[in-house]
Amino acid sequence: MMENNSFPGSSQVLNFCKNIFSHALRASDNVPQHIGLIMDGNRRWAKRKHVEIKEGHNAGFHSMSRALELCYEAGVSTATVFAFSIENFKRSAAEVDSLMNLARSGIKQVVQNGEMAEKFGIKIRVIGDRAMLPDDVLREVETAERITKDNTRAVLNICFPYTGRDELLYGIKATVDKTQRGELQFSDINEDEIDKHLYTGGSPPVDLLIRTSGVTRLSDFLIWQVSRRDVVIEFLDCLWPDFGSRQMAWILLKFAFHKSYSASEPDLEEEMDAISSTLEQKKQH
């Protein structure tokens, strides 16, 4: 928020502002329940700053924890981040390696000494086609999930490696499999049933998607969830490492404002319809 800007030096003031802000947002009762994040632009940021790509990914990781901290404080219950696409395996071996390393150390950090997992009671879930992960990374992932499995306050879904179409395929297959085993009637297959069997099943529906670095595509992320009506999609021009709590706060405020003030619209139209229909009836009489 603006207040954060005016006192850049003092972290206490900053924290205080964050705290008040998140509580105020909570009071609005219109906080998104499930946020999707596409953290795009780490490499471009590294190039611009003339540092190694690895540094860019590192900065991106810190940026993520800043943004998530605010979200969880404000009452967001689930966040899903796009860490690694199945398509990313096409990148150079060295970069894939460094990304895997970063993921491993990142997950370790969040679990072991990161205050975030403890402070907010975050349950970490790694979703996607995990069969594609190298063994050592998979072990780390499993440890992280085991350690955090009893946390209930918030969920962090890490998509690793993931594509939306793959998820949908998985969901469809799981649903078909369920009918095979006689647990589900054909006629009972519906949207909710598929929803349940997606990787994100069990999480509340996604209601906000944020993508940075000026790209206006979904790049195969949460395609099923985000194409719903009334899902807010925010494309920002800044690169992900430059994305801070200030931008996050603004987006959350915008979300709360629009949800609070658009609630009455359908009622109004219904009212209008009701009035016009009664008028017509009167005319007929």
């Binding site: 603006m2 705290n19 802000f21 509580h23 105020a24 947002l25 909570r26 009071a27 609005s28 009762d29 199945i86 398509e87 990313n88 395996f89 096409k90 990148r91 594509t163 939306g164 179409r165 949908l168 395929l169 469809i172 297959k173 649903t175 078909v176 009918t179 095979q180 054909f186 006629s187 297959i189 519906n190 949207e191 598929i194 206006t216 595509r217 979904l218 790049s219 195969d220 395609i223 099923w224 985000v226 194409s227 009506r229 009334d230 899902v231 807010v232 999609i233 494309f235 405020l253 915008k254 709360a256 404002f257 629009h258 609070s260 003030y261 658009s262 009455s264 619209e265 109004l268 139209e269």
Partner: protein, 348 residues
């Protein structure tokens, strides 16, 4: 902020929702907003009113609960809640003001752009604009909305007009495939009107004796119509553009239908679970709905995909103009420009 306060606040928060006064206050804040997408002076006024109304309210809370229950510890939660509410309304006021300025700025920008790009019913002008671009989307999609009856360009006729205008621009730009999506399927259900509307629009753009031919496809009913309603005969099936009309039905529900079908086939042993692959689903959905568009235009104030077929938006580029609410040529051409300038690198 201590932990106890925190937990109390949370508990109070739940109680508060049941509170009658809150119920009364919410309509007072939100009543009478016609279009929330457009901030207006009224909006700011309302937010200000909320801010002014809330402080005495918080006093009331303190008094009331201080008297009736006499427990300061309990009422302090309420007070705190009210304080946060106050702070929230201040934030909303700030937001509304900034947003109002932003909105006005965007509207002026859109107005200037509309003046700068005006096709004035001539394909040559559109052609000129497009010639400068390095690449064109092969498949273009657009989400259209039915505006309220009575508004300018509202109702079904407005929707038909918007749709046919897009067809005319696309033909002039040399785009061969156009997908028009509207949530409720008004275009689909009025396909005859739509065809004649397109025909009349094309007559304005081109020489009436030499109107480009077009085909309208409705994947849901597996139907293809050629040209305008009264020229349905023979010879010309070589068309300048193919128009697909989609609705909400072609999105998730089609995928669900596909799942049902596959489940039944599996049950009758005509198919194995391992036969369900990405390739199969992709080819089925391409047949049932169509190909993935390269560019998706949205003509509303802020992007909302409204149930557009999810399988088909994997790598689609989106374009919309902030705070715009009309189907205009400037959005169309700027979308094409954005597409021409963007770099596509899958995964890399």
């Amino acid at each position: 902020m201590t932990k106890i306060q925190d937990s109390v606040l949370k508990k109070q928060d739940e109680d508060w929702k049941k509170d009658q006064r809150d119920h009364k206050r919410v309509p007072a804040i939100t009543n009478g907003i016609v279009n929330p997408a457009k901030p207006s002076v009224g909006n700011v006024k309302r937010a200000l009113e909320t801010a002014i109304l809330t402080p005495p309210d918080s006093e009331e809370v303190r008094k009331q609960y201080g008297q009736t229950q006499g427990l300061w510890s309990q009422s302090s939660g309420k007070l705190e809640y009210a304080l946060y509410k106050t702070f929230l309304s201040i934030l909303f006021v700030i937001y509304a003001c900034v947003r109002y300025i932003q909105y006005e700025y965007n509207r002026v920008k859109i107005r200037i752009l509309n003046l700068a790009y005006s096709p004035s019913n001539t394909p040559q002008l559109i052609r000129q604009d497009v010639m400068k671009l390095q690449k064109l989307p092969k498949r273009l999609a657009a989400i259209l909305e039915k505006k309220r009856e009575g508004d300018v360009g509202g109702g079904t006729s407005g929707l038909l007009n918007d749709g046919s205008e897009l067809v005319a621009w696309s033909i002039s730009a040399g785009i061969k495939h156009l997908t028009l999506y509207d949530y409720d399927g008004h275009l689909k259900r009025n396909v005859d009107e739509f065809r004649s509307s397109v025909f009349h629009k094309l007559c304005k753009y081109y020489d009436p004796t030499n109107v480009p031919k077009f085909a309208v496809r409705i994947p849901q009913w597996n139907k293809v119509y050629f040209n305008s309603a009264n020229a349905d005969t023979s010879e010309a099936k070589k068309v300048a553009i193919e128009i697909s009309l989609l609705s909400n039905r072609d999105g998730r529900e089609t995928i669900i239908d596909l799942t049902k079908t596959m489940a039944e086939l599996c049950a009758h042993d005509e198919m194995k679970l391992s036969d369900i692959t990405m390739k199969l689903i992709d080819s089925e959905l391409t047949q049932l709905v169509g190909h993935e568009p390269d560019l998706l235009l949205y003509f509303g104030p802020s992007l909302d995909l409204q149930g557009f077929p999810p399988w088909h938006i994997r790598l689609t580029e989106f374009y919309w103009e902030r705070d715009n609410d009309q189907v205009t040529y400037s959005v169309f051409i700027r979308g094409l420009k954005k597409y021409a300038s963007c770099k596509m690198n899958v995964g890399k």
